[in-house]
Symmetry: C2
Subunit: 202 residues, 2 copies
């Protein structure tokens, strides 16, 4: 859909205000208890307007996460200054949750995302579709396993750092975490090959 020119600023503000209200509602009430209705009440708009902009609660949640920045773009920017892509991707991932543009406590948006996705399968589906369409579109040469493996290791770092608070991952600097995990990401991106030294029990 093409964004119409000359749209009144007032309209854009309403959308932003609904997203602000949604972030507040999901943080205060949790995904399960927050409703389109409670978000509309906080934003002082009609619930039908929330439906109009965002569809259902899962769509509203994904929009409120503000994941629109492309981590891969950030990673490519970072690696332009030299250094491997994996390190840049880890730094970009951590910056989403604790960088200057993140709101609330460091990692709190990650915790909210994990809570919502584990509570409501439709949030997991909406997130998966969002990520595969917008963040990591499959490219020609990329092996099918790469996006799944990379996202598993990145999510695992978020789990260890923000939810389980496992040391030393919890207190390390983003640069330290990236130095340890970056090579794994590079290996997955290059096309992880299963270890053929493995003996299967056939």
């Amino acid at each position: 859909m093409v964004t119409p020119r000359g749209r009144r600023p007032g309209k854009r503000d309403t959308r932003a205000e609904i997203l602000d209200a949604a972030r507040q509602a999901f943080r205060a009430e949790g995904y399960d208890r927050a409703t389109i209705r409670s978000v509309a009440r906080r934003a002082a708009v009609d619930p039908s307007l929330v439906h109009h902009y965002f569809g259902d609660k899962a769509g509203l949640f994904v929009a409120a996460m503000d994941l629109a920045r492309d981590p891969r773009q950030v990673a490519e920017q970072l690696s332009r200054e030299g250094g491997p892509k994996g390190v840049g991707l880890v730094l970009a991932f951590l910056a989403i949750w604790e960088g200057p543009r993140s709101t609330g406590e460091p990692g709190s948006a990650f915790v909210a995302m994990v809570q919502a996705a584990s509570t409501a399968p439709e949030v997991a589906t909406a997130l998966r579709e969002f990520l595969s369409e917008r963040v990591w579109r499959p490219e020609g040469g990329e092996p099918a396993w790469a996006p799944a493996l990379v996202s598993s290791q990145l999510a695992g770092i978020g789990w260890a750092r923000y939810i389980m608070r496992v040391e030393p991952i919890a207190s390390a600097t983003p640069e330290e975490v990236a130095a340890f995990v970056g090579p794994t990401i590079d290996r997955y991106i290059a096309g992880a090959v299963p270890d053929d030294g493995m003996q299967t029990s056939e």
Copy 2:
């Protein structure tokens, strides 16, 4: 604590019945809504008995997860037949959630764990203490980063397979997942060294 000999079988049954009731309650009501009281009601015992055996709700939850099997022991058993340790550890991790001893849908206990840990910080704390005391006690030569990095990658696989259902991880056999991820685990266990080819932006 030493288990007293000659304890009446009836006592052990009560404990097991409470755990069964807890698993049912957490599955049906979710961690947040289940209470010591609702578990006691399901088990037809007094709430004080639940407190007596398991302390608080977080303690009851961790006990109900039945994580008492040591994944590292399983991994060592598996690698006795040849094959690298990392592959065995991934297979042991997946067997906890979808093996013959797991109950409910494959992965449902993992989803419940993630939901509880992301909703209630005290569950994350109880799990972390359980894992560091019982599953992966630090040993002499092991680098401090290894347990944290290994658990981050394993948890990330659970996230991708059971919650996000990212393909091909979601539908692959445990052996396929282990073949891709095992080498990463081996690298972390061997003592991941940060990539010194990295250029930091100093």
